[in-house]
């Protein structure tokens, strides 16, 4: 997939300037009106003392939303801003860094990446890579899958992605408490949504940043999930005392709704998909299976269920269809 690098970008701009200079003046405003602004609207919600959340839209990644679907957290500290996840593109990351500096009045002290999915980790270019940290599995996953994510992101979000390249975090996060500028952060590398997910408890404000281990009012995604491991992690997160939980997608949650809903959804889709498989249905039929009423108000329920059928079905087929034959020797 072709990416516009800076040279090509500036060449294009030069060409456009030449073209603009050579055409009649009355056409010029049309030119400007047709150019997409490609600026994200980042609206920080203050949800605690020195804690802001930038809510992603409850949608799939589209050209219209530029991929800005994941929640981002900014924390203030005496040493500078702490940013959790960097968004879907270089443009997003750059705007986010500016916003974090404006909100805190300080430079960026640390960036954490919760997992390797592009809506969370493709804005790394906006930050000094020396400050970007993630668990080992996140770094490895991004290294292994970044390019194929990139193909898909450029295909869907197009111009929003201009100049976006994969930047691997340079610091490895391990289990433990890290204190940055007076803020105590309990770092919990876990798994389930992917092979490596980071949850962070800001002990200072009582905020649990769950990444995509928790979703709220938006169907959870499963392309790299291990459902059994995810359930174990959800249980553990449920035992943590916190004032507020920030899910990877959906509103901040002062109760246990995000964890409960994520748990219930995963149980439900696994049951439905296994039933369809056991009845002999193939994927196109299973994708049309009715969903429980409890999830009617959930954004993207059918969409994510369809995706989950594709993620889980091949595993079931490989594991559960009886052996019936072989190559003739």
């Amino acid at each position: 997939m072709t990416k516009f690098n800076d040279d090509c970008d500036s060449d294009r701009r030069r060409m456009l300037k030449l073209a603009a200079a050579s055409i009649a003046v009355p056409l010029l405003p049309v030119f400007i009106a047709n150019a997409a602004p490609l600026t994200y609207t980042l609206t920080p919600q203050k949800i605690g003392d020195g804690v802001w959340m930038i809510a992603g839209v409850q949608e799939a990644i589209t050209f219209e939303n530029g991929g800005a679907i994941a929640n981002i957290t900014i924390l203030d500290s005496k040493d500078g801003a702490i940013v959790v996840d960097t968004g879907p593109s270089r443009r997003y990351g750059e705007q986010l860094a500016t916003l974090a500096r404006d909100l805190t009045g300080k430079d960026i002290a640390r960036v954490y990446i919760t997992h390797f999915h592009p809506d969370h980790a493709f804005g790394n270019q906006g930050f000094d890579v020396a400050k970007v940290a993630a668990p080992d599995g996140v770094i490895k996953g991004l290294a292994a899958m970044g390019n194929s994510f990139s193909d898909a992101m450029y295909y869907i979000a197009r111009d929003w992605m201009r100049g976006t390249e994969i930047v691997l975090p340079s610091k490895t996060v391990t289990e433990g408490v890290e204190e940055i500028g007076g803020r105590k952060l309990r770092l919990m590398p876990r798994a389930g949504h992917t092979a490596s997910d980071l949850a962070i408890l800001d002990e200072t404000s009582g905020t649990l940043i769950a990444g995509d281990l928790a979703f709220l009012d938006r169907a959870p995604t499963t392309p790299h999930a291990d459902l059994a491991v995810w359930q174990t992690t959800l249980k553990e997160l449920g035992d943590i005392q916190c004032r507020l939980l920030i899910p990877g997608h959906g509103p901040a949650d002062a109760g246990k709704r995000a964890l409960t809903q994520t748990h219930d959804w995963l149980i439900a889709i696994q049951e439905i998909i296994e039933r369809c498989f056991n009845e002999g249905q193939d994927m196109p039929e299973a994708m049309q299976a009715p969903l429980p009423k409890a999830f009617e108000g959930m954004a993207l329920a059918r969409y994510e269920f369809t995706r989950s059928v594709m993620h889980l079905y091949t595993k079931l087929e490989a594991a559960k269809l009886p052996s019936v034959g072989a190559r003739e020797k």
């Binding site: 050209f63 898909a152 369809t306 993620h311 269809l321 019936v324 034959g325």
Partner: protein, 276 residues
């Protein structure tokens, strides 16, 4: 946006066709594909072709894996279907598979997974006994690259020991048909992958009753996904204890499977409830 545009152009094409008097000439392609006329000529020659909503192609709204797109082609609403052909206009290899159901022994239905190199119309064409091809289809949105990516097996050093291993199961339906699901381990190399592996794919599967009577034949081509996973609707004898599937790849390897009909195994419990 894109879907809207397609619908719009489809409507425009239909209106144009109607205004021009559709009865007089060939009907415009509802999917407005740039290659349809050539593809139709190549595939069907001078035979009569009609676009027919009774031939249904189901693909997901979102593609997760360009090398494994679930597709079902269903012409069960048409009587006397002699052949069901699946085509992808914009794939480098357009012909995906041909199902030949033996009359009254199998339905005109197949579900499988497809590689796509780019977004493309996916069509099913059903040949009825009067010599007419009934064509249905949908446009599949996809980023692509599925035909030029090496098979997963090529990264697996012991794939030769598992090639041809088959898994499958039969379900009995209320209407007397049996649903057959079969998965055969095979790289299904297209010959177009960046690793330069030559084309290597299962060409043919013959589905037979317990006594060897033919039920259906499927010819497969390169765009069928690695580890072909097929769902068919067949009608073996009520007393048949199994359905067998004999296959062959383009390197001459022979594959044999016998899928037991659990309801005719006296040692087993009563058959489970079937779906459709």
């Amino acid at each position: 946006m894109i879907k809207f545009a397609i619908r719009f152009t489809t409507a425009a094409a239909l209106l144009t066709a109607m205004a021009a008097g559709a009865h007089a000439g060939p009907v415009s392609d509802p999917l407005n594909s740039p290659v349809w006329n050539d593809l139709a000529k190549k595939t069907f020659g001078d035979a009569e072709i009609v676009f027919d909503d009774r031939v249904k192609v189901i693909v997901p709204d979102v593609v997760e894996n360009q090398a494994q797109v679930p597709v079902s082609a269903d012409a069960r609403a048409l009587p006397n279907v002699e052949r069901l052909v699946v085509l992808t206009d914009l794939n480098p290899i357009q012909h995906v598979l041909t199902l030949t159901p033996v009359a009254a022994k199998a339905d005109a239905f197949v579900s499988f997974r497809l590689k796509v190199e780019q977004g493309t119309p996916v069509r099913a064409a059903a040949l009825t006994s009067d010599g007419v091809w009934h064509v249905g289809g949908v446009f599949l949105e996809a980023a692509g690259g599925g035909c030029s990516s090496p098979a997963m097996a090529r990264g697996d050093s012991d794939w030769t020991t598992t090639v041809g291993n088959a898994q499958g199961k039969l379900w009995r339906n209320a209407d007397g048909t049996a649903r057959l699901r079969l998965r055969v381990r095979h790289p299904m190399d297209t010959g177009l992958a960046k690793d330069n592996t030559p084309a290597f794919f299962i060409e043919k599967l013959d589905v037979k009753g317990a006594g060897g009577e033919p039920l259906a034949t499927i010819e497969l081509f390169e765009p069928v996904s690695e580890d072909p996973t097929l769902t068919l609707s067949v009608k073996p004898q009520a007393t048949d204890a199994s359905v067998s599937v004999d296959g062959r790849d383009n390197n001459g390897n022979i594959y044999r499977s016998v899928v037991p009909a659990s309801w005719n195994q006296s040692a087993l419990a009563a058959p489970r409830a079937a779906t459709r």
